[in-house]
């Protein structure tokens, strides 16, 4: 029914605005994929793990390369090949109802496991399942294990159901780290665990984390120099992925911080695929992951209308840093446990609501937008209540759109546009009402 317009962004315009951070990130990704796809020749060992609760510093202690299935799914989404992978997985007997990240991954394996650089991904030597914030992870790794028949480590992160981290949780996680995770990683890699090496990486992590937080918090300014959702997704790439704890990450976040601070000083708004954004009309907080198959088109619906996202929860799935948490070299294992426990989707619903209200307040947003993702029960179950609760507490209007991560069948552009336009109009009218009353 819907005629989907293909948004072709001008490659020229894009080249023109390439900043140092962007170049750096591209380079880092390319190198990483090349290392991964040549692991067979170099003899490097590969660990597969998830973004939330990923233990990159620990993995590096054993000289593993880190391959993240979620990031691959995202890449496939952005490159618009995920649709065919999902279909392939469904043909293999996977249900239409389940998370499309999983199906994109399974479909990719069935179709040759080709990395974005066109070469074949290596089989992992170990699956490190840091089971954090989502049940699907557990089944996903069982599915991968069935395929690869390799060693699998389960690190169970308890859920913060009562809104707090208890001693029992920390003890449980540290014990798992010490007695299950580390010994197995040692065995598979043949590298002895060196806690000082871990401390060193953690120190680097926290340095990059400082800069990331600074970048994200620049969005408190009016106009905001960044888009903390669409742009933010690029910013979190290195730290949520395979680079936390590396010098590369430190460099990247330094470049990025400098660029953003520069824009801030000049009073500039965010950079978009179509160049600098026009006047900032609406400031939004967004809850939920984005849609990757129509990422540009989705973003355009915002910046064309002057809407900028000033804070988002999705940029906290790989770690919540803005309330003070940093990886702490002084207590290396405990800090990893705290990190896993604290990621966004491992927080109870009341905690998530508090966070969103806090964002709306601190970032002076006009309202909350929820992009509800069909795939993801961890995010989505309960979002309608969250929306109402945030509306009630902040008095700001909220809106709800639905799409999917990497399944193009669930992105209905006309529908979403319809909703967004009505929503922006609503904010406008509310404001007019408020100023008339004042």
């Amino acid at each position: 029914m819907t005629t989907t317009k293909i948004v072709t962004s001008k490659a020229v315009a894009k080249e023109a605005i390439k900043d140092a951070s962007m170049v750096k990130q591209k380079e880092m990704m390319a190198t990483h994929y090349n290392r991964l796809t040549s692991a067979a020749e170099t003899g490097d060992k590969v660990a597969a793990t998830f973004v939330p609760g990923n233990l990159n510093e620990l993995i590096m202690c054993f000289d593993f390369l880190n391959n993240l299935p979620e990031v691959n799914a995202i890449q496939n989404g952005l490159r618009r090949v995920s649709g065919s992978y999902v279909l392939e997985a469904e043909k293999l007997g996977h249900s239409e109802d389940v998370c499309t990240y999983v199906k994109s991954d399974i479909g990719m394996m069935a179709k040759g496991n080709i990395a974005p650089n066109g070469k074949k991904f290596p089989n992992p030597d170990v699956l490190l399942l840091s089971y954090t914030g989502c049940f699907t992870f557990m089944k996903w790794f069982e599915l991968l294990r069935e395929q690869y028949k390799c060693e699998t480590i389960m690190l169970h992160t308890p859920y913060m159901g009562d809104g707090k981290i208890t001693k029992n949780m920390i003890d449980y996680m540290m014990k798992q780290l010490k007695e299950e995770v580390i010994p197995t990683l040692e065995r598979v890699s043949g590298v002895k665990f060196d806690i000082d090496r871990l401390r060193e990486y953690l120190k680097k992590s926290s340095k990059a984390e400082d800069d990331l937080v600074r970048v994200l918090q620049c969005a408190k300014a009016k106009p905001s120099p960044i888009d903390a959702y669409f742009g933010g997704i690029y910013y979190i790439g290195p730290i949520f992925g395979a680079f936390r704890g590396t010098d590369d990450a430190i460099d990247y976040y330094r470049f990025l911080r400098e660029e953003v601070e520069d824009r801030l000083a000049k009073g500039q708004g965010p950079v978009t695929p179509d160049g600098d954004m026009g006047e900032e009309k609406y400031r939004l907080v967004v809850e939920g992951p984005p849609n990757y198959t129509s990422f540009r088109q989705f973003w355009k619906m915002f910046y064309d209308e002057g809407a900028v996202v000033v804070a988002s929860s999705y940029t906290k799935v790989g770690g919540v840093y803005d309330f003070g948490f940093r990886h702490d070299p002084a207590k290396p294992l405990e800090t990893l446990a705290e990190y896993c426990l604290g990621v966004y989707t491992n927080r109870s619903l009341p905690m998530r609501i508090d966070m969103l209200c806090n964002y709306i307040d601190e970032y002076q947003a006009d309202g909350l937008l929820i992009n509800s993702i069909k795939s993801c029960n961890s995010f989505s179950a309960g979002q309608l209540l969250m929306m109402r609760e945030v509306e009630k507490r902040t008095g700001k209007p909220a809106a709800f759109v639905e799409s999917d991560l990497v399944d193009p069948r669930y992105f209905s552009a006309a529908n979403i546009k319809n909703r967004l336009e009505s929503y922006f109009q609503m904010i406008e009218q509310k404001r007019a009402g408020a100023s008339a009353a004042a």
Binding site: T3, L384, S412, N418, S422, Q425, M426, Q429
Partner: protein, 443 residues
């Protein structure tokens, strides 16, 4: 005079509303939707003009009230006009049908078919005045429906008598009606009025004495030009509306505004149309605060009732009254339109009563609608029910029940013209857009 036109191109019906500068409705028009959207929009807005013309007659004739009984007079005039319209379309249909009778399929039977068609149309024309007699009940007000159902009846008899396959005559009709209804309406409106007036003055002795005065007043009214000052369109499948971008508004906004205009205290709007169910929350200015609608799935929408009516061989407007007879509605959970018939058969074969099943189906529709409403933010006083299904008394009854059970005492508004809600909002958007243009600011 300046008029503002709002057109709501629905999946089932296309509606038009004509507003004057003072925000008063002067005409409503409705027709069945069809593949040629431009034609559907034209027909609807012409119908609204016709209705507007009657409003003008009424205004003009108020002075003549002493001479005649105004309501009777306008009633007679309208029926005469409708008959005129019907006969004109019937001619068109006959010509089209005859032109279909060619090619290999008809090689052996062409002359027989032509004769049969002649007979069918003769009967149609003969009974036409009775269709428009005072108090006559028509299956629907749309040419396609009236002509269709009568054609089927006559064709079956004629075919049997002539020993022709009924399917053949049916197919000729199916092929022709689509052509006829997609042709833009021909002829001047005022000419049709004049003919209708002539037909009426000739046959109604009661008004003969005043004929000259009446003719003069009608001519005056006809000379008022209903200028289409600004038009806004909305509706299902908006992407392909036959208007340019600045003349299109989202159907949600139109419905919200329309409901607000009908009942200014409205806070929650439920619209059940042919293929969509919308739950809309509006504020005190008629601005949409939240909404939900079905997408991808037409379960529990108006078409669902259409399928059921077909399955039961009944008219749409007969479903409600039958369902009202039940006091023990069946418990039905699935409202999938496609499988409605199957579900119905299943239950009939289990021995459930027709009225109980029907009542259950109505309840199921309402439950589904309420779940959409509740996703949009629940029911807040006052509640306005719009769209075609609001004409169905059984649906209304279930709605009242469900709301009372779950939200307590809530004022429920249903306007007899509720099917025009979207078009009304659109017309108001047209009026505001024109005002905005006139004084150079955004409305």
């Amino acid at each position: 005079m300046k008029t503002f036109v709002g057109i709501d191109l629905g999946s089932t019906t296309t509606k038009a509303v004509l507003l004057d500068e003072g925000c008063k409705v002067i005409g409503h028009g409705i027709t069945n939707s069809r593949s040629n959207y431009a034609t559907a929009a034209r027909v609807a807005s012409q119908e609204a003009k016709v209705d507007g013309q009657f409003t003008l007659f009424r205004r003009a004739l108020t002075d003549a009230n002493k001479l005649i009984d105004l309501d009777t007079f306008l009633g007679v005039l309208e029926r005469a006009f409708r008959l005129e319209q019907f006969l004109e379309q019937l001619d068109d249909l006959e010509q089209t049908c005859l032109s279909q009778v060619r090619g290999e399929r008809f090689a052996k039977v062409a002359s027989g078919v032509n004769d049969a068609l002649g007979e069918v149309f003769r009967r149609l024309r003969e009974e036409a005045p009775a269709l428009y007699a005072p108090g006559a009940k028509r299956k629907s007000d749309f040419f396609r429906d009236i002509a269709g159902s009568r054609y089927h009846t006559h064709a079956e008899e004629v075919a049997r008598a002539a020993g022709l396959p009924y399917d053949l005559l049916l197919n000729v009709y199916d092929k022709s009606i689509i052509e006829v209804e997609n042709r833009p309406p021909a002829g001047e409106l005022s000419e049709k009025f004049r003919r209708a007036l002539g037909r009426m003055l000739a046959s109604e002795p009661s008004v003969k004495s005043a004929a000259a005065d009446i003719q003069k007043m009608i001519e005056d009214a006809l000379s008022v030009d209903l200028e289409e000052t600004y038009l806004v369109g909305t509706g299902y499948g908006r992407v392909t509306l036959p208007f340019s971008k600045e003349h299109i508004r989202s159907e949600i906004l139109c419905h919200g505004l329309g409901a607000h205009m009908m009942f200014p205290k409205t806070r929650t709007v439920l619209d059940i149309g042919g293929q969509d169910t919308k739950g809309i929350q509006v504020d005190e200015n008629g601005i949409v605060a939240n909404f939900q609608m079905n997408d991808r799935c037409a379960a529990g929408c108006g078409r669902y009732l259409g399928y059921i009516a077909d399955e039961m061989n009944m008219g749409l407007h007969e479903l409600g009254p039958l369902a009202m007879k039940s006091d023990r509605p069946a418990r039905i959970n699935s409202t999938c339109t496609v499988f409605a018939g199957a579900e119905l058969r299943d239950r009939l074969s289990l021995g459930e009563k027709r009225e109980d099943i029907l009542a259950g189906l109505h309840r199921a529709i309402i439950l589904r609608a309420i779940s959409i409403i509740s996703r949009s933010g629940g029911v807040t006083n006052e509640f306005t029910f719009t769209g075609g299904v609001a004409k169905n008394e059984a649906a209304v009854r279930e709605l009242r029940k469900v709301i009372k059970e779950n939200y307590g005492e809530v004022t429920i508004n249903i306007d007899p013209d509720s099917i025009y809600t979207g078009a009304l909002g659109a017309a108001e958007f047209a009026r505001r857009a024109h005002l905005g243009q006139a004084d150079g600011s955004e409305a």
